[in-house]
């Protein structure tokens, strides 16, 4: 008897909870919700988001979907499954741009601010992916190490195969790391489809160290970071020295590391945002894109994410401008070519370097 009573009670509870979840939630007009998918490095001032939420009577939720590539793949997958995870995606970069466009992930939006952004950043003429920021993946060096050895800095990718830099460089695996992929693409841009394997072979013979991710490369292997590793050259960002300066333990005159910005040694990452196809919050999503392109957000980015604003009149913070260099001629490749060849190249690279 007791058992049956328990079972009926349990069933009743189930029924009740089912009804409860069906009940209408708060009136729809009040606060609108916007979900923004970003990558792990995304950051923004709480104050700016609060202002946006207030002005639009909205609540913004940020989902960090992993590395830039991983976040994009999550979005494609959930869209295929008929349940897109977000209304807006911010953090798509030019190495993955075509994958997003080929999968028809975004709706076009001709944001008013686009008129003020240099054409060089607008890689999608259809305005489905809108440029928001850029940064350069460059080799960083340990200033103290090079000063103490009296060694000149490498000034080109070819230099890195010179025996005097033997065993000094650590790079990330392009198959698992976004800066790793960027640096790899810079090498393809420099040596061409026919030549990059030759150069990487020489680099391997010259003792290049390959690790899986940026964290390992920077904090375990790089001698210029607090991890005090054994390689004085690392693939990182042109703005990393600025972060070393701003997050130093004691105020410094100069960062302990520097970036090599010689022609063709850096890869420019442009990051885009887009409105996801089929969002029920199209109007609010447009407002959020406008917010990303507003002067306030563009000026907030450098110290939050160590990237550069695409808006020409956004003013850079002094420390940031002082310590991070901008390459005059970063490497670049046609996004269509990247889309067509990326996976094939990465597999060839893996076979060449890791097997």
């Amino acid at each position: 008897m007791t058992i049956k009573r328990w079972i009926s009670a349990a069933l009743l509870m189930l029924l009740l909870s089912a009804c409860a979840s069906q009940a209408p939630t708060a009136p729809a007009k009040e606060v609108r919700e916007l979900t923004v998918m970003t990558h792990d490095s995304f950051a923004v001032s709480a104050e700016l988001v609060a202002r946006f939420e207030e002005e639009n009577q909205a609540k913004v939720t940020f989902i960090k979907g992993g590395d830039a590539g991983a976040a994009l793949n999550r979005l494609i997958l959930t869209s295929l499954a008929g349940a897109p995870e977000a209304d807006v995606f911010y953090g798509l970069d030019n190495t993955f741009l075509s994958r997003a466009l080929d999968n028809a992930l975004f709706e076009a939006y001709a944001a008013p601010a686009l008129g003020r952004i240099p054409d060089a950043f607008k890689l999608d003429p259809g305005n489905r992916a809108l440029p928001i920021d850029y940064g350069d993946v460059c080799i960083n060096y340990d200033k103290a190490w090079f000063a103490s050895k009296g060694l000149p800095l490498p000034q080109s990718l070819e230099d890195l195969t010179n025996p005097r830099y033997k065993g000094l460089l650590v790079v990330e695996n392009p198959a698992t790391s976004s800066p790793g992929l960027s640096f790899f693409l810079a090498s393809v841009a420099a040596f061409g489809e026919a030549g990059w394997q030759e150069w990487w072979k020489a680099l391997k013979e010259n003792g290049v160290v390959v690790v899986s991710d940026w964290e390992s490369a920077y904090y375990t292997n790089f001698s210029g970071s607090s991890g005090r590793g054994s390689q004085p050259l690392v693939v990182s960002y042109a703005s990393s020295p600025a972060a070393e300066l701003i997050y130093a333990e004691t105020p410094l005159e100069e960062p302990p590391t520097g970036s090599i910005v010689a022609d063709g040694t850096c890869w420019r990452q442009i990051e885009f945002a887009g409105i996801l196809k089929g969002t029920p919050n199209r109007q609010l999503a447009e407002k959020f894109i406008d917010f990303l392109l507003s002067k306030a957000f563009q000026e907030d980015m450098p110290l939050q994410m160590f990237v550069y604003p695409v808006l020409p009149d956004a003013v850079l913070p002094a420390d940031f401008a002082r310590a991070s260099a901008v390459p005059d001629r970063p490497a670049s490749l046609d996004p269509q070519l990247i889309a067509a060849k990326r996976d094939e190249w990465v597999q060839a690279w893996t076979a060449l370097m890791l097997k």
Binding site: A70, R74, R99, A144, W145, T176, S216, S226, G227
Partner: protein
């Protein structure tokens, strides 16, 4: 009601017992898994131009198996003597060392990589010491990015599973049996081989299975400490699914991993099914005594020394590094000093950037502890129910047990992607992801709980329950006064494990993270993914806080006494 001995009838009872575990696994495991696999394989049917690579799968599988077998054997070599040590001898620092052994279990891999680097890296203590000692110009020990680094990290992570589960069973072995064997003239080796070993086998086999599966599905250790030259199935699934977007291949690899897990769990069941007598476990802990003979003293000393070197030193180097500034060694920094500092900890409390993702340490600790406590309760309630359900299922259990182990063999990436697909659609789309996180953690902890409770449950002699029933005790009273006291120790072990698993879990559940309620591991990642001395220092300080929270949490759980324990 005498249904509790499960010998006859009680169909209602059995169905009721299975209801919750079955619902839990269906919702949180089979549903997301089938959803993602179906999607992955449909992408191939649409002709996405992606193909299977049988060669890659075979090669990856071979390496995965090889490193898992090696790691498990090594973990046993370290863990079994340690389990004996902790269950038999009293010595100074015993409790401390036993607690230390648990801590690696929770550390995010990125932090383990940092602590291994500060100890064994090219400019770690070991190399710096050796270079100074022998006047070498190059670091003599090159361990990182190699197979030994993977093995070492696996032993570092998992030896506490052997220590806690086998050690717990060992300390509950009925001393009278070994004493009886000795009195009948058996030498120590015979006592071990013919009495102790068969009695320990279920616990030891269960613990080894868990260690093997943790090693078999290893991800972070292989990726970060092994380096890009090594890939387990789990690493390859991650790369294929999230970077190369070759979902059919990722799906295939996930299936291989699952199938092999099932096979191992099934084979394991055949090995460890009862060949042992009951009435062998007592509720009381064996009396600990100090080592007496010279042999015992040497054993104690050597085992403790190995544990200190292997487990304590990496943790210690992490904690030390969070308290010592080494800035001066980076040159060009005249004013900076090397020395003791609390700066990294102080900085944690300062919101310098105003970032929306800044989380005060107290809030991160609160979130982590809340999630862990919820996951612990869910996993242990379900685990207890599931263990009884299995216990009463007779021969059927042999087929159901491997199925229950399966969540350990599921790829975290695959399952995580399954979560985001399933729980965003009706009828689940109204459920907050924050509520789902402890359930996801419980999913990982559940197999461990069942593996630990089941042998203990099977060790309870039916005669005890029958005697109690005969004396007029109802089933509730039988449970409270017979089963519970005998299950209490293993239950505490389970609670500690579920708590720590939840504190450190960063796999499938990270897919459910919405940026609200950030936990300690989330905060660690936020700091270590940016350059700068303060970010690095704060990541280490936050990791140390994670260690302290885990240590305090498990101490508190072990201190807990359920009502009824003193009755036995």
């Amino acid at each position: 009601m005498s249904n509790m001995n499960g010998k006859r009838g009680g169909l209602w009872w059995k169905l009721l017992l299975w209801l919750l575990p079955a619902a839990f696994l269906l919702i949180f495991f089979y549903q997301p898994l089938t959803a993602i696999l179906r999607l992955a394989f449909s992408m191939r049917a649409e002709g996405g131009g992606q193909s299977f690579f049988p060669g890659l799968a075979a090669k990856t599988f071979a390496f995965t198996l090889w490193q898992a077998v090696l790691s498990t054997l090594l973990t046993l070599v370290i863990g079994l003597p340690a389990a004996y040590l902790f269950s038999h001898y009293e010595f100074a620092g015993r409790k401390f060392l036993r607690l230390i052994a648990l801590l690696p279990f929770i550390l995010p891999t990125v932090v383990v990589a940092v602590s291994f680097n500060s100890l064994l890296g090219p400019r770690g203590w070991l190399n710096v010491g050796l270079m100074a000692l022998f006047g070498l110009s190059e670091p003599p020990v090159r361990l990182l990015n190699s197979l030994p680094a993977i093995l070492l990290a696996h032993v570092f992570y998992n030896s506490s599973i052997i220590i806690r589960i086998v050690g717990g069973a060992w300390s509950r072995l009925d001393q009278k049996l070994t004493q009886a064997a000795q009195m009948l003239g058996a030498n120590p080796w015979q006592v071990f081989w013919e009495v102790t070993f068969p009695l320990l086998l279920p616990a030891a086999a269960g613990a080894s299975l868990l260690v093997f599966l943790f090693d078999f599905t290893s991800f972070g250790v292989v990726l970060m400490l092994g380096g890009p030259a090594f890939a387990t199935l789990e690493v390859e699934i991650y790369t294929q699914a999230l970077y190369l977007f070759n979902l059919p291949l990722a799906g295939l690899l996930s299936l291989i991993q699952l199938a092999f897990t099932l096979l191992v769990a099934w084979a394991h069941n055949r090995v460890s099914l009862p060949r042992y007598g009951k009435a062998a476990l007592s509720a009381e802990k064996a009396n600990l005594r100090p080592p007496r003979t010279k042999k015992e003293k040497v054993f104690t000393f050597v085992t403790a020394a190995v544990l200190i070197a292997l487990l304590l030193l990496p943790l210690l180097s992490l904690v030390t590094r969070s308290l010592v500034s080494l800035e001066a060694e980076r040159g060009e920094r005249g004013e900076a000093q090397t020395g003791f500092t609390l700066r990294y900890y102080r900085e944690l409390f300062r919101d310098t950037t105003g970032s929306i993702f800044y989380v005060p340490p107290a809030v991160a600790v609160r979130n982590s502890v809340l999630y862990a406590a919820a996951a612990m309760l869910i996993a242990n309630m379900l685990g207890l129910i599931t263990s009884y359900a299995l216990h009463f299922s007779g021969r059927l259990a042999r087929w159901l047990e491997p199925v229950l182990i399966l969540p350990l063999g599921a790829s975290a990436v695959t399952l995580g992607l399954g979560f985001v697909i399933v729980f965003r659609r009706a009828p689940w789309d109204g459920v907050s992801f924050s509520i789902l996180i402890p359930f996801a953690h419980a999913l990982v902890a559940l197999p461990l709980v069942v593996r630990t409770l089941l042998p203990a449950l099977r060790g309870i002699p039916d005669s005890l329950r029958q005697a109690a029933s005969t004396l007029g005790a109802g089933w509730a009273r039988v449970f409270r006064e017979v089963d519970l006291p005998l299950l209490l120790r293993p239950l505490l072990v389970c609670m500690v494990f579920a708590f720590t698993i939840s504190l450190g879990e960063f796999g499938a559940s990270s897919f459910l993270s919405t940026g609200r309620n950030p936990t300690i591991p989330v905060a660690i990642y936020r700091y270590i993914s940016q350059p700068g001395a303060l970010n690095y220092g704060q990541a280490l300080a936050m990791s140390t806080i994670l260690l302290v929270v885990c240590a305090l949490g498990s101490l508190a759980i072990e201190k807990a006494r359920l009502p009824g324990e003193e009755l036995f």
